[in-house]
């Protein structure tokens, strides 16, 4: 059984997730593109959704059979741009191809402006039991600069409705550090989110990704997110979440007990997951694969009877160990030190991180105590030469 029983930051969950199985489905459709987003997305191609869903069904059918799934995650893009029926077909295809484990986590990302009671009812009937709402902020001005189309009230209504409809877990995504967002505005956003008593909260620092409208604007002189102010915002939110009884279990994720996200736990445990759809990434049998990113290329490939794979990578043993550490150390539970952890602790970089209070060994776990400085630890791991075992 895969219900994440217990505190989301428990080492037991963190390690157990390595043996679970997930599938990710990517839905690239959006009503319009957000300026900061660098995912595989398209706007104005709503007429292609039927074709896309059929392609997904074909791609799922082409995947060699596998273990029953403990978690399914339908992300995007904007999955709520599809109809309940279309989403139901996708889920049905997966269920019949791989089977579901006992009480699987079935998640869907949705935008507040798409949320309706009938969508909620339909999703529940199709088997979705977790919803992640792209709320981003409760400040209308911040929503505008993020290019989001919903109002704070729509977001609130959607959360309350999802809760009433009986989704087992409701997550809110929030973004902080948008230029122009004041400390007070961010606090108010977090307060209002916490008042809705979400089971799960993802708080992401606005990041300028290459190739986005945001990065072009910044290059042209628009204000960039300020890392120090983002750190302030992060610390403030951390305190509010703690007071509200949410437990931080990864750099950007909080949940109440029994509500850690199974799909995420699998990824951070270097576990395996299938992936379907344009631009989707999977990890199966030790191989990391990625699908073609462009919608048309994806459709063509699949309709031509081919798997839409664009590339694959199999990591050497040491690189795999380094990967386990760099993803795993993002979790509050940290990692079992192992080969890589011991090497790190003996290196000058590791000692420096320990001295600076960033890295610590506690019992049989190696953890990053200051999640905001985590990349320094990750770079140190990558700079290591493997020690003889």
């Amino acid at each position: 059984m895969t219900v994440p029983v217990g505190s989301p930051d428990s080492p037991f969950l963190a390690d157990a997730a390595a043996g679970w199985s997930a599938a990710y489905v990517h839905i690239p459709f959006c009503a319009r593109l957000c300026p900061y987003c660098d995912f595989a997305v398209v706007a104005g191609r709503q007429d292609q959704t039927d074709r896309y869903v059929s392609a997904l069904q074909s791609e799922i059918a082409m995947e060699p059979s596998w273990r029953p799934l403990d978690a399914v995650y339908v992300g995007g893009g904007t999955p709520s741009r599809l109809t309940v029926e279309q989403l139901g077909y996708i889920l049905e295809e997966m269920r019949s191809r791989f089977g579901f484990g006992d009480r699987p986590e079935v998640s869907l990302e949705a935008n507040p402006e798409d949320w309706t009671s009938s969508l909620a009812d339909g999703l529940r009937r199709s088997g979705f039991n977790r919803v992640s709402l792209g709320v981003q902020s409760f400040d209308p001005q911040v929503l505008r600069s993020l290019g989001r189309m919903h109002t704070p009230e729509q977001a609130e209504t959607a959360v309350l409705n999802a809760r009433r409809t009986g989704f087992r877990s409701v997550n809110l995504d929030l973004i902080f550090g948008t230029p122009g967002e004041s400390a007070a505005s961010w606090r108010a956003t977090v307060d209002r989110a916490l008042n809705l008593e979400p089971d799960h909260l993802s708080l992401y620092a606005l990041t300028v990704e290459r190739g986005t409208d945001l990065s072009r604007a910044v290059a042209a002189g628009a204000p960039a997110p300020d890392p120090d102010r983002q750190a302030d915002a992060y610390e403030a939110a951390k305190e509010l979440c703690r007071a509200a009884g949410l437990v931080q279990y990864e750099v950007s994720n909080w949940a109440r007990p029994d509500h850690g996200c199974v799909y995420n736990l699998i990824i951070w445990a270097q576990g395996e997951y299938l992936a379907f759809g344009a631009g989707a990434h999977g990890h199966r049998d030790g191989v990391r694969r990625r699908n073609v990113r462009r919608l048309d290329a994806y459709l063509e490939k699949v309709e031509g009877g081919h798997r839409p794979e664009q590339g694959a990578e199999t990591l050497e043993e040491w690189a795999r160990e380094q990967e386990r550490l760099i993803i795993g150390l993002r979790r509050a539970a940290g990692v079992v030190p192992g080969w890589g952890g011991e090497t790190l602790l003996l290196s000058s970089w590791g000692r420096r991180l320990e001295r600076a209070g960033v890295l610590a060994r506690k019992g049989d776990r190696l953890t990053v105590l200051q999640p905001l400085l985590g990349d320094e630890a990750a770079r140190a791991v990558l700079a290591l030469q493997p020690r003889e075992r």
């Binding site: 995650y73 992401y204 990824i267 992936a275 760099i326 420096r352 905001l372 990349d375 770079r379 140190a380």
Partner: protein, 597 residues
């Protein structure tokens, strides 16, 4: 044979090389088709900067107006203050000098400095005003100034335009008329002066010689008096300007001598060549060129150390003034402490290393040689701040002073005095060369001139001031060593010896600059400037607060790893100084900026 040995001496850009070209052309030494601009400046750098670094000589065959056939040996001299030693070597091989002045600019500091060198060497001076074709030319004013300086009638000043060729014939006649022929002592034993040398990859060291007494034949067995090296003259010849082998170089002649010696160090410029086994009185010797400015040169990439060593060895083959010894810096790794004749010399060497040998270099702040008297009475010369003993062992320190000559339009006197006083200058005297132009003589610490003094002088005077200087003496001075500390650890590359009054300013400037250059770390990094244990300035690089990728979802795993991999490469290039990671570029920028501002 009617021989005339002469040099042209001039301030930079007054047209010396163009005049030399015109003389070569007019005497048929080189045809117009062969005529490259400025034949005597052969190095690329010389051509670009418009200056002559290495002296060369050329033989001109000239039929004078009275029908006599004459051999004119033109011995080129460098035109920059750093190379005044080379000028003196060249002048010693001559009996006369053409003193050239730009008709628009008039007498400049180097004109005077070189004129005095020539007068001291007992040379006959032919005053010449050049560029009379220029619209801005004031030949009469320039001629009057020039005449006043050397004490002749303004009517005796030759007016030429090296560019158009006007006046060249008259100048040639004046050279034949006024420059004394070499004293003939052909019956005496051979004495020849080595006034320059260079290294040729195929022929070894080529010496430029002036035969003073006797004659030098190919095949002669010769002895270099100072080094006691005995060799055979495998080839002698003249430069027309191409090397032309001749059986004999007679008394008064100028030419080249090849002995098969491969190492430039074994030939000392200023030495006297004699016949082996014949005892002679050596000609008045030369001082060794003495470096005035020192700087550490380090390869930006540590793997290039050997290449840097080889490049320096090669440069030294043609430049005995360049000295260097290995130096180790905790911050910059392995490199060399190099000594230069002056700032221009330093810049030229750096540029040649970077350009001709494709090296990327980090240079530490230029420093001068300080003289330290220790409490035990012994005296030590300090060329690098690292070598300075602890203050408890120092009785007193002295620093080198220059005697600097500045010539400028009189309206700039105020601003020049301001600049020189800020640089701790002491006036020796001031005199008006004409109602519009003034000459100022100052005693200045060399260390103050090493940085940007000349640039500053130029900008304050809109380029009208000229500067020349010579080493003067050492003076007791209130000097301190300023160290820059990173997280409590001194960074050797940034230490400097400096006058007490300037210490605070230097410390503050470096500390502020480093605060901007050093990336934020896991912890607060104090940057301090200190004199001994006393902190005189402090800044802090605040600890990084956020350094983490916000999102790590399924599709991100490989991408995140690759992004971090790229960042890691930068991490490997960092130098660790007292637990602080410092990018190599920060050292380079901090040091470069210091030379600039």
């Amino acid at each position: 044979m009617n021989i005339r040995n002469f040099s042209i001496i001039a301030h930079i850009d007054h047209g010396k090389s163009t005049l030399a070209d015109r003389l070569l052309e007019r005497t048929g030494a080189i045809s117009e088709r062969e005529m490259r601009e400025q034949v005597l400046d052969t190095m690329d750098l010389e051509r670009e900067r418009g200056i002559t670094i290495k002296a060369q000589s050329v033989r001109l065959d000239y039929r004078a107006g009275d029908g006599r056939h004459c051999v004119l040996n033109l011995i080129d001299t460098p035109g920059h203050v750093d190379f005044s030693y080379e000028v003196s070597r060249s002048l010693a091989a001559c009996e006369g000098a053409v003193l050239l002045v730009d008709a628009a600019q008039g007498v400049q500091a180097q004109t005077l400095a070189n004129a005095f060198l020539a007068i001291e060497a007992g040379l006959e001076i032919i005053p010449v005003v050049n560029k009379i074709d220029l619209p801005a030319a004031q030949p009469e004013r320039a001629a009057a100034e020039l005449a006043a300086v050397i004490g002749v009638d303004p009517d005796d000043v030759v007016r030429v335009s090296a560019k158009t060729g006007g006046g060249i014939d008259e100048l040639l006649e004046r050279i034949v008329r006024d420059v004394p022929a070499p004293r003939h002592r052909p019956d005496q034993p051979l004495r020849a002066l080595v006034f320059d040398s260079y290294y040729d990859a195929y022929r070894g060291v080529v010496c430029y010689v002036r035969v003073v007494d006797g004659s030098l034949d190919e095949g002669d067995s010769v002895l270099f008096s100072a080094t006691r090296e005995k060799h055979q003259a495998t080839e002698v010849g003249v430069l027309t300007p191409r090397a032309v082998r001749v059986p004999t170089l007679g008394t008064g002649e100028v030419g080249y001598l090849i002995t098969g010696v491969k190492e430039i160090d074994r030939i000392r410029v200023g030495d006297t060549v004699a016949h082996a086994g014949v005892s002679i009185e050596p000609l008045p010797g030369y001082r060794d060129p003495k470096p005035m400015v020192y700087s550490g040169l380090f390869p930006a990439d540590g793997d290039d150390f050997e290449r840097l060593r080889e490049a320096l060895e090669k440069l030294r083959l043609n430049d005995s003034a360049l000295v260097y010894e290995p130096e180790t810096s905790r911050a910059l790794g392995f490199g060399f402490r190099c000594g230069f004749l002056g700032l221009l010399h330093m810049e030229i060497i750096r540029e040649r290393l970077e350009r001709e040998y494709d090296l990327e270099l980090v240079a530490t702040a230029p420093s001068v040689a300080y003289r330290v008297t220790l409490t035990d009475g012994s005296v030590k010369e300090i060329r690098s701040p690292q070598d300075l003993p602890g203050s408890d062992r120092i009785d007193h320190m002295e620093e080198p002073f220059l005697r600097a000559m500045i010539i400028a339009p009189s309206e700039y006197v105020g601003t020049i005095m301001e600049l020189v006083q800020a640089r701790r200058g002491v006036m020796e005297h001031m005199q008006y060369l004409s109602p519009e132009r003034v000459e100022l003589i100052y005693h200045l610490p060399l260390a103050e001139v090493v940085f940007d003094f000349f640039d500053n002088l130029k900008s304050r005077t809109r380029g009208y001031a000229s500067l020349d200087y010579e080493p003067h003496d050492y003076r007791v001075s209130d000097l301190v060593r300023v160290d820059i500390l990173l997280n409590g650890q001194p960074v050797d590359a940034f230490s400097t010896v400096i006058h007490q009054e300037k210490a605070y300013q230097y410390g503050k400037r470096m500390v502020e600059r480093l605060r901007r250059l050093i990336p934020r770390q896991l912890f607060d990094v104090p940057i301090q400037a200190a004199i001994g244990s006393r902190i005189i300035s402090r800044e802090t690089v605040k600890a990084t607060r956020k350094d983490v990728i916000a999102k790590c979802y399924g599709g991100d795993v490989s991408r995140k790893r690759k992004l971090l991999e790229r960042q890691k490469e930068g991490k490997k290039r960092m130098k660790m100084v007292g637990q602080v990671e410092v990018p190599q570029e920060a050292f380079i920028s901090a040091l470069q900026a210091d030379a600039g501002d």
